[in-house]
Amino acid sequence: MDHKLDALFNPRNIAVIGASNNQLKAGYTVIYNLNQIGYPGGVFPVTRSKEEILGRRCYEKLSEIEAEIDLVVLGTAAPLIYEIMADLEVRMAKYNDVKVIVCIAADYGETKTAEGIRRQECLTRTAGRYGIRVVGPNCIGVIDNINRVDTTFVETLIPAEMRGRRGGISFISQSGAMAASILMIGASQPAPISMNKFVSIGNMADVDCIDLLEYFEADPDTKVIGMYLEGYPDGRQLIDSLARIARKKPVVVLKVGRSSIGAQAANSHTGSLAGSDSVYDAAFRQYGIVRAATIEELMDTLQAFDALKLPRGNRCFLLTQAGGPGIYCTDAFMDQGNLRFPKISDATKQAMIRLLPPMANIGSPEGYADITAAATADQHVQSLRLILADDNVDSVLFVTVVPTFLPRRELAEKLAGLLKEITGKPVYICIMAGRYVLESRRILEENGIPTFDTPAHCVRAVGNMTAYNSFLAAHNDTGY
């Protein structure tokens, strides 16, 4: 391994200190998750009780495990850190093998108490002596779906057979609770989101955002990087890293703390207008870093970047099956600001007229078509095919509601068929009708085609991808 953090995502064996047979404890869920994701290496629970945990033999001390340990998950109560670190020294003297510690326990430096800080220093100093990298403390852990590693104590209810699917999203969260929520929300999508790599970084006692960003930058399996960010001590350094990466792959950031605007208000005009959040915002725009305002926008945008080609420009066609949703979508479209309706060719228009029911509205306004509720599944799919083939179109918003007389399964299967065949332009699909269309959405998503909850969600995703493409194009990079 040429990088210390390789052991974080692809460890040979894992020891879990503070493992437990109590299903309510983090030390149980970590072992459970490692089993469930099908981690291929050895898992060694370390606990005072001698019993087995989920079929894994337990050890009393880290230093007693004979196998080579790359990664140690540390989940014991924080006051025990001193004796655990003493035992780590014994182990390192004997085997010199541990490369990374993921400390999922809390009550360290984040408490800002003298004792909390002392514990954290004990952890980082001992690890530092052996060149061991530390993730956390006060984090929920790490997931790598390609190497089938899950050291988190988050129970997402994803069935075992759906774990370990390949995905291109790598994610960093500064908050454990947000990390857990994002995992759970992701798991609850029509087809669960399976990220490539996922790290909750907690207190950043050692490994911090920039270490991971650089790792993801170089990782060929990471197609898009997501980040939940609260702040970073050296904002300029963070922005410089993000700026460099954004030229190579998209980075989507949910940066919170907008309310801090004005907190740094100084006396001069300049000072009060360039408060910290507005500077973050400006820097994101300046360097092509996508800022998401909500969790939903973050997840939608990440999924879209992962699954879809970048739009070649800002000409986005709105294909709707119903008037109301179409108008609702148009409002969101106009608010988005960076998209415009294209004028399709007369040939496309004529073909649409021939294809669709007589009551269909094609091109009023330009760039918009309402195929109406009379449209069959085939007419849905064929009209989308026609629009995608038009040279004036860079991307398509596809909105449909599913009346009882429209076979929803057939619609999904035919759409999936088309979009697996034609992949050059991104299509943002919203099948509106909640639970009733969950299966349709699942069919599409399992075929690698993202779907969105509402038309407005689609618009944010296409808007963000279009903005990113314009950024690359303006800087003569790989954008169109």
């Binding site: 300029r236 207008l273 303006a474």
Partner: protein, 218 residues
Amino acid sequence: MSRFLNELEARDLLSEYKIPMAKSFLIKEKAELAELNEMMDFPVVMKILSPDIQHKTEAGCVFVGVSGDETEGVYEQILVNAEAYDSLAVIDGILVQELAEKGLEIIVGLKRDPQFGPVIMVGTGGIYVEVFKDVAVRLVPLDREEARRMLEETKLCEIVRGARGMQYDEAELLETLLKISALVTDRPDIEEIDINPLFLYEKGKGVKGVDALIKISE
């Protein structure tokens, strides 16, 4: 410790970087006024230069539109008013400033952010800056294209490009931003620059800074 440069020092520093500023002369004795006739077009602005008098207008120490034969009287009046306002104030002299032709009021600012370093700003200037909040912000350094994109984020941009018929000198405005960027890169001691208003003139006629505030660390 940090301090504000006085108006004249601020003006000189900006002029060094070729940012056009309204012409100003510091007069320390009344006799020097006579020489001004050669150097300036009248009417002019006259105001006190004193580190102790920040609110010059309030102190009755600013006179706008002073004609050539009024300068001596105004000179004396400013000193009398200054004395009445704060008898202990240190007086560096009287500033005689060109009454710049009015243009579109722009604010150009810079602040060294504790987290991000120098941050540059451009937007709608004048006394209602805080009300309109029509400004865009960028990290330094920036190139011409980025300066243009920054301007395009403001509502001001439409006006500059001729919303009301008159096209303003966008190129020179962008140039000014680049000069500020260069200045702050050379001078790490600069904490803040605030040029408000910077008058922007018709296309081809450039810009002219009227009031400038610069804060430096020592």
